[in-house]
């Protein structure tokens, strides 16, 4: 039965697949074009990036103090030898990133031992919520360009619209025409619906993974192995983040949140399609839901992490996650837990009510 569903998908819905691929490709092209045309780009030039990576390789197993000593020596050598612009730019950038690492270590030490602040940028909640900073890992200097590109490109993802389109074509259209009424009287109805459900969920997952993979490949996060071990606090803008993990873990969190959001979207859209049995009403209700949640996230970024069916900026989602004192964790944990419970509840409820 599953084989039949897959065959039908490729036989009758090839236009849908082509449209989805075109939408994803277009969103990536727009994202890359805007990124390249950004006048205030903070990314390093290719030459500077090469020099910066050399510095990272040389200091990979050093402590922050040793890194400082090394970079100072390099700086002196660069001035004496009259090194080219790329080298001096890389050294300056490294020094800036290193100072941020010292600052984050300072927050950690202050929250643990009551002293240790080394920079003028002091977080306003350092005294009120020292638990947040206590378990910070000491960050390392990393090349944050790939992560910044990842965040930027992720903002052009319109997956809720794609899921709405998939559900419209695979379910809402058929429900309006009454196609499934014929299936209901067949002996194979149960197997048919199970296969259809599996096929749709897998199809959505594949599309989502393809979308995310394209972002990851284009941003170059796979080429940065140091992201697996470096704390996210070493990245600009994340120095006081409530997340306590490596950069790869943050990327994984974004991925999981997105995947769960899409499955939630699918469940909700499927329920709407079944309840309304009209394609026009389905599009009106689902568009309203997606649009209103997206607008809410845009005007009140603090709500972004919870706008599961909306188009949200990943930067807003990440920056606005707060620290939860009672859980001694970031709000990210609550987001994932609430999504899992909602999703589980919806799947069980739909199954019990034979909603498909």
């Amino acid at each position: 039965m599953l084989e039949l569903q897959v065959k039908q998908l490729f036989k009758y819905h090839i236009v849908l697949i082509a449209v989805i691929i075109a939408i994803i490709a277009l969103s990536r092209v727009v994202g890359i074009t805007l990124m390249k045309n950004d006048r205030f780009s903070q990314y390093m030039s290719p030459d500077t990036a090469v020099e910066f990576d050399k510095l990272l390789d040389s200091t990979s197993d050093m402590t922050l103090e040793e890194c400082a000593e090394y970079i100072e020596r390099k700086q002196t050598e660069a001035i004496m030898n009259g090194e080219d612009k790329a080298v001096t730019e890389a050294i300056t950038r490294y020094n800036t990133e290193l100072q941020r690492c010292f600052a984050v270590r300072g927050y950690r030490n202050y929250s643990r031992y009551g002293k240790g602040i080394v920079s003028l940028n002091i977080p306003s909640d350092l005294k009120a919520a020292p638990e947040k900073y206590r378990s910070y890992a000491v960050p390392r200097v990393v090349n944050s360009d790939a992560f910044s590109r990842y965040i930027f490109l992720s903002s052009f993802s319109i997956m809720p619209i794609i899921v709405m389109l998939i559900t419209a074509v695979l379910s809402a259209d058929g429900l309006e025409k009454g196609v499934f009424k014929q299936t209901n009287i067949s002996a194979e109805a149960k197997a048919f619906y199970r296969a259809k459900e599996i096929m749709t969920v897998v199809f959505i997952c594949i599309i989502y993974i393809a979308d995310q993979l394209s972002v990851m490949l284009l941003s170059g996060v796979f080429e940065r192995p140091e992201y697996r071990t470096s704390s996210v606090q070493g990245i600009v803008g994340f120095g006081t983040s409530a997340f306590r993990g490596t950069i790869s873990q943050v990327i994984m969190w974004v991925f999981i949140r997105g995947l769960l959001s899409m499955l939630l979207c699918y469940n909700i859209f499927e329920l709407i399609a079944k309840a309304l049995s009209s394609l026009k009403k389905y599009i009106i209700v689902c568009t309203s839901l997606t649009a209103l949640l997206s607008v809410s996230a845009a005007y009140m970024p603090a709500l972004s992490p919870y706008m599961f069916c909306g188009i949200t900026k990943i930067s807003d989602v990440l920056y606005d996650l707060d620290y939860v004192k009672s859980l001694d964790a970031s709000e990210g944990l609550i987001v994932i837990i609430s999504m899992c419970s909602l999703l589980g509840g919806l799947f069980v409820w739909r199954r019990e009510n034979n909603i498909t």
Binding site: N37, L64, E72, G106, V118, A168, D173, I283, Y299
Partner: protein, 409 residues
């Protein structure tokens, strides 16, 4: 006529549902986002009331803001000096705890009193507001003097002379108006309302929900075939549908716009509707001799005409795409285009860019005239005529197409 009334009656329910739903949502979110952006409202009110009227008030707000900033700078400079003198190469020294405590107390205050950073934000916001109210007259006078100087120096360009003459007249009226308004206004809500309404996407969502299926649903279901057999005919049906669609869009937008405006007026403590529009931040040099209420009416008509143009375009695309799902995708294009164009950096004539993106701030915050045949024409008038023409053309194209669909549907 009976067919028209029947169709009109059918359109009332969805229009009411979309209008009420989106308007309530927009009002709630606009006010909530304004409140969250302003922070402590009581602190703001206390600071605002403590200031004198006129230039003294502005100077005091600026002085307080700068004084607080200087105090912060002093303590931060002290810490910076400590870091510079005690650093061991690139390794920064640990700041003494007394210094950290002092920074904390100064910047963030304690649980009972607000820190300097909060006061600075409040006084910064007040001085930004009062700047327009205090210096709009001076800025306009400076500009009119510049025009007179240019004329005396012998500028012979006919267009420049015409625009100078027009502006002098307008600015004279603006100055007269401002002379009668010496009162100080809290313009936070007014400023944010103008910012919100110039970039809000909710009205476009409303247009989409109301009209994306205006023709595609009938064409997909095959009901359109039946229309050509009736006395009204396919073209008659389409013309009624277009008129009703335009009416739906107009009703929705009018209710939506004035509900937002009413919410802003009710939230503001001062009577902002009667203040000169030059008191709005960024509009100090506007040549329009109208008050804020008049300005709101002006932007209402500008946005309404743009909305009607989009409605006609959406109905045309609904006719072209024939089926519901394609029309849902295609109809998003004209609605997303203004927002996309305003974010993409393309080399376009500034006036053209403003008109294409319905940039009501850009079209009203300065001289706002276009050179047409050597005469300065108000950009809003050109915008109004252009969008109405596009709307009429789109509606006509939809009608022509409906004639064809009537035969081959």
């Amino acid at each position: 006529m009976n067919a028209f009334l029947f169709m009109l009656k059918k359109a009332i329910r969805p229009t009411v549902a979309v209008t009420v739903g989106l308007t309530c949502f927009a009002v709630l979110f606009m006010i909530a986002s304004f409140k969250s952006a302003y922070g402590d409202d009581k602190l703001y009110a206390a600071c605002f009331d403590s200031l004198d009227e006129g230039e003294e008030g502005y100077n005091a707000a600026r002085y307080n803001s700068e004084k607080l900033s200087a105090e912060d700078k002093e303590i931060l400079d002290k810490a910076d000096r400590y870091i510079s003198t005690h650093s061991n190469g690139s390794v920064p020294p640990i700041l003494p705890n007394e210094m950290v405590d002092e920074i904390f107390e100064t910047l963030f205050g304690d649980s009972e009193t607000a820190g300097s950073s909060q006061y600075q934000a409040v006084y910064g916001l007040i001085s930004k507001q009062l700047y327009s109210q205090t210096f709009s007259r001076e800025l306009i006078k400076e500009r009119t003097e510049g025009y007179s100087r240019n004329i005396r120096r012998g500028v012979t360009d006919e267009y420049s002379l015409k625009i100078a003459e027009l502006m002098m007249d307008d600015y004279e009226k603006v100055l007269e108006k401002e002379e009668n308004h010496r009162e100080r206004y809290d313009t936070r809500y007014a400023n944010n309302f103008i910012g919100f309404i110039s970039s809000e996407p909710i009205s476009y969502i409303g247009i989409f929900l109301l009209l994306f299926s205006s023709f595609s649903a009938e064409l997909q279901s095959g009901r359109y075939k039946a229309f050509k057999l009736t006395k009204t005919g396919a073209v008659g049906y389409s013309s009624y549908r277009i008129i009703i669609g335009i009416l739906q869009a107009a009703v929705f937008f009018s209710v939506y716009f004035f509900a937002l405006y009413t919410a802003v007026i009710l939230s503001s403590e001062t009577k902002i509707s009667s203040m000169p529009m030059q008191y709005l931040s960024g509009f100090e040099l506007s040549h329009l001799p109208i008050n804020f209420g008049g300005f709101v009416l002006r932007i209402y008509f500008m946005k309404l005409s743009f909305t009607l143009m989009l409605s006609a375009a959406v109905m045309l695309l609904s006719m072209v795409s024939r089926r519901i799902i394609p029309s849902a995708i295609v109809c998003l294009i004209p609605l997303a285009a203004p927002a996309a164009l305003s974010r993409i950096d393309i080399s376009l004539n500034e006036n053209l860019r403003q008109m294409m993106t319905c940039d009501i701030i850009g079209m009203n915050n300065d001289i706002g005239a276009i050179n047409i045949g050597g005469s300065p024409i108000d950009v809003a008038a050109v915008f109004f005529i252009a969008v109405i023409m596009i709307a009429v053309c789109s509606a006509a194209a939809a009608l022509i197409l409906s004639g064809r669909r009537g035969f081959d549907a």
